[in-house]
């Protein structure tokens, strides 16, 4: 039996995703919050907490409270641990609710980096982002732009140490695309094959186009309240059983290797202990997947397989539809939509409720959500379930 509920997710709002131009991040946020309130059967005035994920574009700030028209909030913050923030936000929301500091808290991620005349790749790391002073300029002088080369170097290190192959990465991409085909929210829904993966152009060798996440305009909102209040609301509650962070730090000392040994390990240990379940109890994983490699290394660090065995572990397609460990069942960031860790969190809510329709996993008692930020410098874990013990 799992441990008690630390908080319950009662509302989910997901806006249309992708190349939707001409809207500000805060407008997407408003739409997602409205959708989530409606989903929960709550009114705007019921909401007394607002946690905003600082986005990549940098245009979500505390004044969003006024723009969105909320009043007398007793919990407000813009939070950032980069891509891992959703886990930190869930942690703070649950703690605030347990302390009686807020009753109904909205967690929101919104971003709109895509514009009509700029490529997706340029949206986060284009020339408009090239200051030249000091060490930042040194990075530019080496042509080291954005996250792609950094994750590619992490992936190659793993391949070198453990014999991981591009086909292993490809298996993850193919499986997630098959899931995406069953999600009405997914941006990329046409099936792909391992051959398509192999033939997709290199972005940063060893990573190919189909190893890399999408860029999305849109927003996701999740509403959290107490287990007690959740009983009276519209949706089946999704209980937060465990949460934890681990920021392993940088990889710039030769005795440190967070690129191949991530914060999933420590944050997973803490979160699983809090939840009263183990990795063996997990029915479906919703893992941060900025790149295929991130999924593989995260599975290892949570202990689904031994360190270095992530490649062979995923090779049989167990993460895809019909597999023994259904993972990123909405297509993830690779094929669904890229809303930082609100991508895995949103799909986890769908699956834990049993509302996945065609893509619903057969067993959904324990759902693992992972979030990763920076260049594998930040990590958070959330464990969700439709069950919780009463004490």
């Amino acid at each position: 039996m799992p441990n008690r509920s630390k908080g319950a997710i009662v509302g989910l709002g997901v806006t249309p995703m992708g190349k939707i131009y001409g809207r500000r991040s805060v407008d997407f946020a408003a739409e997602a919050i409205a959708l989530a309130l409606d989903d929960a059967g709550l009114e705007k005035r019921d909401l007394d907490g607002l946690l905003i994920n600082a986005n990549i574009s940098g245009d979500m700030d505390p004044r969003s409270q006024m723009i969105l028209g909320f009043e007398n909030l007793t919990l407000i913050n813009v939070m950032s641990a980069y891509g891992s923030t959703a886990g930190s936000m869930m942690q703070y929301a649950c703690m605030a609710i347990e302390q009686g500091l807020a009753n109904v808290v909205a967690l929101v991620y919104a971003d709109a980096p895509l514009t009509a005349n700029r490529s997706a790749g340029q949206s986060y790391a284009g020339p408009h982002r090239f200051p030249l002073g000091g060490m930042v300029g040194l990075r530019a002088a080496y042509g080291n732009f954005g996250a792609n080369p950094e994750y590619a170097m992490a992936a190659r290190r793993h391949m070198h140490l453990y014999g991981t192959t591009s086909e292993h990465f490809g298996t993850i991409a193919v499986g997630q695309r098959a899931w995406a085909g069953m999600s009405p929210w997914a941006q990329m829904r046409s099936p792909i094959t391992l051959e398509d993966h192999h033939n997709s152009r290199f972005i940063a060798d060893p990573l190919r186009l189909l190893d890399c996440c999408l860029v999305s305009n849109g927003a996701v909102c999740v509403i959290v309240t107490s287990a007690a209040k959740a009983r009276d609301l519209k949706q089946p509650p999704v209980h937060v059983l465990g949460y934890a962070q681990c920021a392993p730090g940088d990889n710039l000392r030769t005795d440190r290797h967070p690129a191949v040994e991530t914060g999933a390990k420590r944050s997973g240990e803490i979160a699983f202990r809090m939840a009263g379940v183990t990795v063996k109890d997990v029915d479906t994983c919703q893992l941060y997947d900025c790149y295929t490699y991130t999924v593989l290394v995260t599975l290892e660090d949570y202990g689904f397989c031994k360190k270095g065995e992530g490649g062979p572990f995923v090779a049989d397609g167990k993460l895809g539809p019909g597999g023994s460990l259904p993972t990123n069942t909405g297509g993830g960031q690779l094929s669904g939509y890229y809303m930082w860790a609100f991508t895995p969190l949103s799909e986890a809510v769908v699956q834990a409720r049993g509302q996945g329709g065609e893509r619903q996993v057969p067993k959904n008692d324990v759902v693992l959500v992972s979030a990763n930020g920076g260049i594998l410098n930040f990590h958070s874990t959330i464990i969700l379930s439709k069950h919780a013990s009463s004490s």
Binding site: M135, A204, L252
Partner: protein
């Protein structure tokens, strides 16, 4: 055909001036802590190991080992358009710090993790020099 756009040239600032001055003299200057004896990179005001403000500039050996690398195919900056694909690499310096740079003087296909490298200095323009790495002699 119009002249190609140049690669970006870093602008030394107060903190990084000794690093770039060293590169001009073909020396890899890094910060070394007089309190705890560790080297650090990238540049900082304070030692990340012992937190004391006791970093001084010292010439590093310039020697290290290839930790990992990527061959980058995206021309994110027009100055690199004629140079893709090119490598970006992490080099574990013998001093115990990991530096990101390019490996020069070797085909991308011949890069091997674990290969020994040594610093070499190039100018992207404006009289500014930067360290790169090449296969170590001998």
């Amino acid at each position: 055909m119009s002249e190609a756009v140049s690669k970006p040239v870093p602008i030394p600032d107060a903190l990084s001036e000794p690093f770039f001055a060293g590169a001009r003299d073909r020396r890899l200057m890094l910060q070394h802590c007089t309190s705890c004896g560790t080297w650090s990179f990238p540049l900082r005001e304070r030692c990340p190991t012992c937190m004391k403000p006791t970093l001084e500039w010292r010439a590093a050996s310039g020697r290290g080992t290839l930790y990992t690398f990527t061959i980058f195919h995206q021309a994110m900056h027009p100055g690199f358009a004629a140079h893709v694909p090119y490598n970006v690499a992490q080099i574990d310096l013998d001093e115990g710090v990991r530096m990101t740079a390019n490996v020069a003087g070797v085909d991308n296909a011949d890069l091997r993790i674990g290969m020994r490298l040594e610093a070499v200095f190039e100018s992207p323009g404006d009289g500014v020099f930067i360290p790169k790495f090449q296969p170590a002699a001998g």
